[in-house]
Symmetry: C2
Subunit: 232 residues, 2 copies
């Protein structure tokens, strides 16, 4: 018996063509995987693989029970994996360094409360620290840590382990908000990052929650030339 | 019969604790879902849901046949959905505008060839265009389009439809590379974006391929204040 069945890429391209030709338009529901498999004479798992790919690339939406729909607004979807900063530096082959700039307990200002989306009346631990690669500034982090969800942080020696590393390893979150933007370096950040005021910096802001409770928010100002690349 | 079975978040937290306490260390293989389900007296689908969550947040790696491993290097994983620029502008409630700055056929310079990872000897279509929100500059794009994979682009009226929109809708890719970085605006870009030279700009670079063949690469310089936010 010769195997003339379609591969998943062929199936993906056929489904994609059904969308391009208007047979299924934005927001339309696609047939069930099993029905497409029958129509195209292939295994249902082949259709699933094809649908996963179309979903990963932002063309269709898969719902647990609601089947598959053509996205009303197609997107280009990218995934970014942000490592523990020490690992990230070591993976470039550079020697990692770390300097604690300061750790103080303060009630967070309104801007930080807004990032968490709630009023915060109790002090948080604010940690400012510099990560270095081969003794050169790499990322400057300005972090707020909730003492209700991470009380252990007060007994850690933050000159020895970075709050970044400890939190990633010890505090699972169930909500993450991440923002990327560019800012001109102000004189203070420029000094700490060893660059000129006005230099364009990529800023990565990350905020995590467990349930409704804040864990931490960090504003990471990267050194000039920093590039973040998607996984493929 | 009272239901004392664990929910998926409980199961996730138990598995996470097994990792935190060192029962399973970085790189270790975790037991099969079915075995964990038996140990915790819950449904296998509950373990699957928990594992999916731990995988989405970068703590474990799921492999199609190889089971689940603790990631040797835990990461914070974020997904970004980049819409067609017209949709993105319209979703903010602003009126979308589009200006074609120029379209020329040129052999791409070495920097662009490097982005595609291959030598390119034939001309590509270079399209420069400005996207506007409420008549104010929003994104300036500098794009190269491969004429072997998108010959149709030459017969389109690019003053009427943006290459961005046409390509997203018509050219499926199977590889995407995305990079984010910050740059100070040079005088030309500052002029087109209506800002001052030196202003920090978030740049989003996207490159797509189908098989080994390039489709397009675009350097999108966003106007000052632009923020990109992850999906949660």
């Amino acid at each position: 018996m010769s195997d003339t069945r379609l591969g998943w890429k062929d199936v993906r391209d056929r489904i994609h063509r059904m969308i391009l030709t208007g047979r299924y338009g934005p927001g339309d529901k696609l047939p069930r995987d099993a029905d497409i498999a029958e129509e195209l004479n292939c295994a249902r798992s082949t259709v699933q693989r094809a649908m996963q790919d179309l979903s990963d690339s932002g063309l269709v939406e898969r719902r647990r029970k609601g089947g598959t729909r053509v996205r009303p607004d197609p997107v280009t979807r990218a995934t970014f994996d942000i490592s523990i900063t020490r690992h990230e530096v070591e993976q470039t082959g550079a020697a990692y360094g770390y300097q604690l700039i300061g750790a103080t307990q303060e009630v967070p200002p309104r801007g930080v409360q807004a990032v968490f989306g709630q009023k915060i009346a109790q002090p948080m631990l604010r940690v400012q620290a510099l990560h270095l690669a081969d003794a050169r500034p790499y990322i400057l982090e300005d972090r707020w840590i909730c003492l209700q969800t991470s009380p252990e942080i007060l007994s850690l020696d933050l000159t020895g382990i970075s709050a970044n590393e400890w939190l990633v390893l010890n505090k699972p979150y169930d909500r993450l908000d991440m923002r990327f933007y560019a800012e001109n370096a102000d004189p203070a950040r420029a000094g700490l990052l060893g660059t000129a005021p006005g230099e364009a910096l990529l800023v990565i802001e990350r905020t995590t929650w467990i349930g409704d409770a804040p864990i931490t928010t960090v504003k990471a100002s990267t050194a000039p030339g920093y590039r973040l690349r998607s996984q493929s």
